[in-house]
């Protein structure tokens, strides 16, 4: 699990100048498709450390770029993409909410909206792309812009950057962790990860006190994103009991995190809800005599031994649940939590943390009320954490104008052991 060097067959995240993301698997000796930015040879980056940006050459080999440029030719401080209006709509800002020239080399007093200033036709640009690439195309396009020199310096920057997003054949491979997966699904299918944000996930991991050697229970409807985030922080030590509602657990998203299969097999224990609620409905494996086993095909014998081992594992799990073995409980599910908690609170040891995520606050408020009446959980509190990003171009500092909503709410409480000796009147504090 060396995260520092790009490994063969691992999934990596490819950042592109268009600010889109791609998740690709680096199968050796193949070419990797980076969309309209071209393809490149996987072997060219396998074995390199993460952190570099590459430019794709015409022969599909890549050149590493080490400079302060990163993905863009200009400085790479985060820009507000809401500022980036469509061509022809820029600079409508004498009154209003867009950042504004500080050194007003050119004002927009006389700007009339006009899209027909670029003298190169689409066709000509396409032709250009066949012979030139990257910076050179951009220079051509700028040269052919009728009014480039009339723009304010900020507009020039903005225009250049937009062209870079279009024509630069650069990419940055990033190692995939839970934050990167969130970023990826935010742009794609956000509900699949229950609209989690890095800040909510980070908060959950801290509050649940996830660390190597702990044994945790999780009910995870995020394709395993939450479970994966826990595995990230456990370094192969400890276990996770994964409770799910289907025939088979959904680990779709964990697979992108490049965990060794040996490790996940060892650490992840799985129960479905029927097994959790009704262990008595598990049918015992009928024991076979040594003779019968000797007469079996080896594949069937293997199956038999796996079933016996699974039965033993289930017995252990049922015992652990009954005996309050676990070091933390994490729920990130669209299932109603009241009944789950009734079932799972006893499985958690004293003074361990309960962390419950939901996209909406209202279900957590009801859960918090239930827990406040339940002496087994101390001080349930609902937290709403939100990160706000800024554009910090010098002279134009402001928060991004718009952001994707998400992040949900995190209910946090501590499992405690009520005393029978506490007299009434000792009100909940």
């Amino acid at each position: 699990m060396n995260e520092d060097i790009i490994q063969p067959n691992h999934y990596v995240l490819i950042r592109l100048p268009s600010l889109t993301l791609r998740v690709v698997q680096l199968v050796p000796h193949t070419t990797i498709n980076a969309g309209k930015f071209g393809s490149f040879y996987a072997d060219d980056i396998i074995g390199k450390p993460f952190g570099y940006t590459y430019e794709i050459r015409d022969d599909k080999h890549v050149d590493v770029i080490y400079s302060s440029e990163g993905l863009f030719a200009s400085s790479d401080v985060n820009a507000d993409h809401a500022d980036e209006e469509e061509e022809g709509e820029e600079e409508t800002t004498s009154n209003g909410s867009t950042p504004v020239p500080e050194s007003k080399i050119n004002t927009n007093e006389t700007t009339i909206d006009d899209t027909s200033i670029q003298k190169l036709s689409m066709k000509e640009i396409e032709d250009l792309k066949k012979t030139e690439h990257g910076e050179k195309i951009i220079q051509q396009v700028i040269k052919s812009h009728g009014a480039f020199e009339k723009k304010s310096i900020y507009s020039k920057e903005k225009y250049t950057r937009r062209k870079q997003q279009k024509f630069l054949r650069r990419f940055t491979p990033c190692s995939i962790g839970s934050s990167e997966l969130i970023e990826h699904f935010q742009l794609k299918d956000y509900h699949r990860v229950l609209e989690l944000t890095p800040e909510s996930l980070g908060l959950m991991m801290s509050l649940a006190n996830v660390h190597p050697g702990g044994n945790y229970i999780v009910v995870d409807d995020t394709g395993g994103l939450v479970t994966g985030a826990m595995l990230e922080r456990m370094d192969g030590e400890g276990t996770i009991l994964f409770i799910h509602e289907n025939e088979h657990p959904n680990f779709e998203i964990i697979k992108y995190m490049n965990f060794p299969e040996e490790m996940t097999n060892r650490m992840l224990k799985v129960l479905n809800l029927l097994q959790l609620y009704h262990p008595e409905e598990e049918e015992p494996v009928k024991r076979l005599s040594d003779e019968i086993l000797a007469g079996m095909k080896s594949s069937r014998r293997g199956q038999y031994y796996r079933r016996v081992a699974r039965e033993a594992e289930l017995t252990t799990l049922f015992d652990q649940i009954k005996n309050g073995f676990y070091d933390g409980l994490v729920l990130a599910t669209s299932l109603e939590t009241q009944s789950l908690l009734e079932k799972l609170i006893p499985a958690v040891a004293g003074s361990r943390q309960l962390v419950i995520y939901n996209t909406a606050k209202e279900p957590l408020v009801d859960t918090a009320h239930d827990l406040m009446a339940d002496l087994r959980v101390l001080a349930p509190t609902i937290l709403e954490t939100r990160v706000r990003k800024y554009q910090v171009f010098p002279g134009r500092t402001h928060p991004l104008m718009t952001s994707r909503s998400g992040g949900g709410y995190v209910l946090w409480g501590t499992r405690v052991i009520p005393s029978n000796d506490v007299r009434a009147g000792g009100k909940k504090r």
Binding site: E85, S97, L274, H278, T359, S405
Partner: protein, 364 residues
């Protein structure tokens, strides 16, 4: 006195009234119904005659007999008007606008300077609040925008309240551009460089009372320069704030009980076991036949047993997986929740407030 839908309420729609046709939450269009006209939308066509015969607020069904579409015909207000502006227009949104009006103590009779006019959206809100006893001097240096605003103000019956002016207040000040004698007690500056306009204010603000100002700037650096300019001219109580406003919508979320999931798992398991038992019985029957013996009774019984347990009629599907379900549909349990818009407005501008005391009349 000229009527204005932004100053006077009306009940019935009159010929050529400004009417806001509400199509969806994000789509409101200003129209002026006149006899025999029509309004065409993706929800159908709507006869002006039908609209003219209606009261404000009416739901108007599409005139086509085969369509189920409708619109609502709304009475203008500054807030609805701002929602009807094209989406990419730079406007002072209502949460900012309403706070600014409250903080600057805009009241009936207040005289206000606004620069620039922009889309004139805030101008409408100011005009509504200052009313016919008040005055709004609004300045715009972008000529086409000025033209548009001036025309709108005239068409909206606000000429007696709002005086639009074309000019560069940073260079030439306010009095120069406007041609009227100004004595504003409230000032709103939405300019790239408010610090260039602030020095021009002393001569155009009220002489006998407090003047309040708000400068509206997206960037922090603009705020710093604005504050310097305000301090230099002895404005007091300088305070900078941000207004944020979240829009929540009421939704219903399906209540998915673990008990239902368990029932579903049981259903799946039962079917799988039944299948398995059947297959075992078939294999056993074949083997027994081949061996010329009776099939194992246990195997046969298991297959029979799992058939005798009445399986659920079809796949047990408590939450309608795969079906097209609308929020709140009957047959499911729902919970009231609230959700914020997917795309949050996280910043509009920084608002810098201050006030200027009236000049001293006599030394005490």
């Amino acid at each position: 006195q000229e009527r204005s839908p932004f100053l006077d309420f009306s009940t019935s729609i009159q010929d050529n009234d400004l009417v806001l046709a509400w199509l969806t939450r994000d789509n409101t269009k200003p129209i002026r119904p006149t006899a025999n006209g029509a309004f065409h939308t993706r929800f159908g066509s709507f006869q002006h005659n039908h609209i003219l015969a209606s009261k404000y607020g009416s739901q108007i069904p599409s005139s086509s007999a085969t369509q189920t579409g409708y619109i609502h015909v709304l009475h203008p207000s500054p807030e609805l008007w701002s929602l009807s502006l094209p989406h990419r227009t730079q406007i002072v949104y209502t949460p900012d606008a309403s706070y600014i009006a409250q903080r600057l103590r805009i009241r009936p009779g207040t005289k206000v300077i606004e620069a620039g006019t922009g889309s004139a959206s805030f101008t409408h809100a100011l005009a509504r609040t200052v009313g016919r006893k008040g005055r709004v001097w609004t300045f715009e240096f972008h000529e086409p925008r000025y033209q548009m605003a001036a025309q709108e103000i005239a068409e909206h019956g606000l000429s007696s309240v709002v005086k639009p002016t074309h000019g560069d207040v940073c260079k030439n000040g306010f009095a120069h551009s406007c041609g009227e004698t100004l004595d504003a007690s409230a000032v709103f500056l939405d300019l790239p460089a408010p610090w260039e306009a602030i020095p021009h204010l002393k001569t155009v603000v009220a002489k006998s009372k407090i003047t309040r100002i708000c400068c509206f700037s997206p960037c922090m650096e603009q705020v710093h320069r604005t504050i310097e300019a305000l301090q230099k001219d002895q404005w007091l109580d300088i305070e900078m704030v941000e207004v944020s406003c979240k829009r929540w919508e009421a939704h219903k979320e399906m209540v998915r009980k673990p008990e239902d999931a368990i029932e579903r798992l049981r259903d799946i398991k039962r079917k799988r076991t039944a299948g398995l038992n059947k297959r075992n019985a078939r294999v056993e029957a074949e083997r027994a036949a081949a061996a010329g013996r009776e099939p194992d009774a246990e195997v046969t019984a298991a297959a029979a047993g799992s058939e005798s347990v009445a399986p659920l009629p079809t796949d047990y599907n408590p939450w309608g997986k795969g079906k097209r379900i609308h929020e709140g549909d009957e047959g499911y349990e729902w919970k009231n929740v609230s959700k914020v818009e997917a795309e949050l407005k996280t910043h509009t501008s920084y608002l810098t407030f201050a006030y200027l005391p009236p000049p001293m009349q006599d030394a005490e």
